[in-house]
């Protein structure tokens, strides 16, 4: 379980796009770095992230080692009614994590 900061407006307007900001605590080890002994530090990144609102997809994203450590994403969502924004991501080991935030649409 890594720390996630999910910034969603508490209240949005129905049908009007709103911005979401996401910060995930993760080293996103690229596999390119070497340790003190000169050995390559193995790749270890979050490689897939899916954002859904009220069960329907906002986007699905493939992440590569070129995504910087402690990934920050900002994107736009549109809601027709109140619901839950869900972020689900998986890393190279297959470990999944889900974060949610309630959004009220008026």
């Amino acid at each position: 379980m890594v720390r996630v900061l999910l910034n969603v407006p508490k209240q949005v307007r129905k049908g009007e796009p709103f911005d979401v900001k996401l910060l995930i605590s993760h080293p996103m080890e690229s596999g390119q770095r070497r340790d003190a002994m000169g050995l390559a530090i193995p790749r270890d990144i979050i490689n897939r992230l899916i954002c859904t609102f009220d069960g329907a997809e906002v986007f699905r994203m493939d992440l590569f080692p070129a995504i910087a450590a402690n990934p920050f994403l900002a994107f736009s969502v549109v809601a027709e009614r109140s619901g839950t924004l869900t972020i689900a991501f998986v890393d190279d080991h297959g470990v999944e994590q889900t974060e949610t935030s309630a959004v009220e649409a008026v």
């Binding site: 720390r3 900061l5 910060l23 605590s25 080293p27 450590a69 402690n70 920050f72």
Partner: protein
């Protein structure tokens, strides 16, 4: 004109210190300015959790004694390091937090540079954000730090002052040399791709000039930290800062 430049810069620092924030690119500054985009806040939230986490045989958390951090810790980071009168040596905020943990909570110390330690320091530091650095120290103990700052060291035989006083604002390998103030620590450094303490940065600098770094809990590190804070008076606390 070139010979007068270091003199001019020295006078400039004496007049008004310049935060590393002003030397960073617009993108880096933007990263710091937005709390929902500042990676340092991952550690602030961690620190917030640590603040209420009980530890030690009496099962006490920071909150047990200090209550609400935004109230009890307001202004604290802005006046650290302090001078410990009994030991007659400076004490940094990191050391004070560690001391509280081992002596008052009687708990295992948090490993230095761990997420928990950096988080707690970031959370406490945040409670002084925007407040001016104001240190209650003068005389020999500050002068000891100044001497360290001005002493050449390492194989490259450079003192802190030679880069961060005399050549602040000039470039070293494409990067602007900042004045080197401690007002944003612990800070998220893009070079580290993570959060780090002032100790880590000072260690980098010393390794950079090929000097043996002072041990983290040494008197020298504390004296240097105290002098740096006095030198930074006039700047506001920016914790958690973002730097290149």
């Amino acid at each position: 004109m070139k010979r007068l430049l270091p003199l001019f810069l020295l006078c400039t620092i004496a007049a008004a210190p310049r935060s590393g924030y002003d030397d960073a690119s617009a993108e880096t500054r933007a990263m710091q300015d937005d709390d929902s985009a500042n990676p340092g806040f991952l550690w602030v939230r961690e620190g917030e959790a640590q603040w209420s986490k009980p530890a030690g045989p009496q099962v006490k958390s920071c909150a047990s004694c200090h209550g609400d951090a935004p109230v009890s810790m307001r202004g604290v980071a802005a006046r650290y390091p302090i001078v410990d009168r009994t030991l007659n040596r400076p004490l940094t905020l990191d050391q004070r937090i560690a001391q509280c943990r081992t002596e008052r909570q009687q708990a295992e110390p948090l490993p230095s540079e761990s997420d928990a330690a950096l988080g707690l320091a970031a959370y406490v530091g945040l409670q002084s954000r925007g407040m001016p650095v104001r240190i209650n120290a003068a005389g020999a103990v500050v002068e000891a730090g100044r001497r360290l700052f001005e002493t050449r060291m390492g194989q490259l035989n450079l003192s802190c002052a030679q880069c961060h006083d005399d050549r602040a604002g000039l470039k070293l390998a494409g990067a602007v040399i900042p004045q080197g103030h401690p007002n944003g620590y612990p800070e998220y450094r893009l070079e580290w791709q993570t959060m780090g303490s002032l100790n880590r940065r000072l260690r980098n600098c010393m390794v950079g000039v090929r000097a043996e770094p002072f041990p983290p809990d040494s008197r020298e590190m504390a004296e240097l930290a105290l002098f740096l804070a006095v030198r930074a008076e006039g700047l506001n606390v920016e914790t958690p800062a973002v730097r290149p």
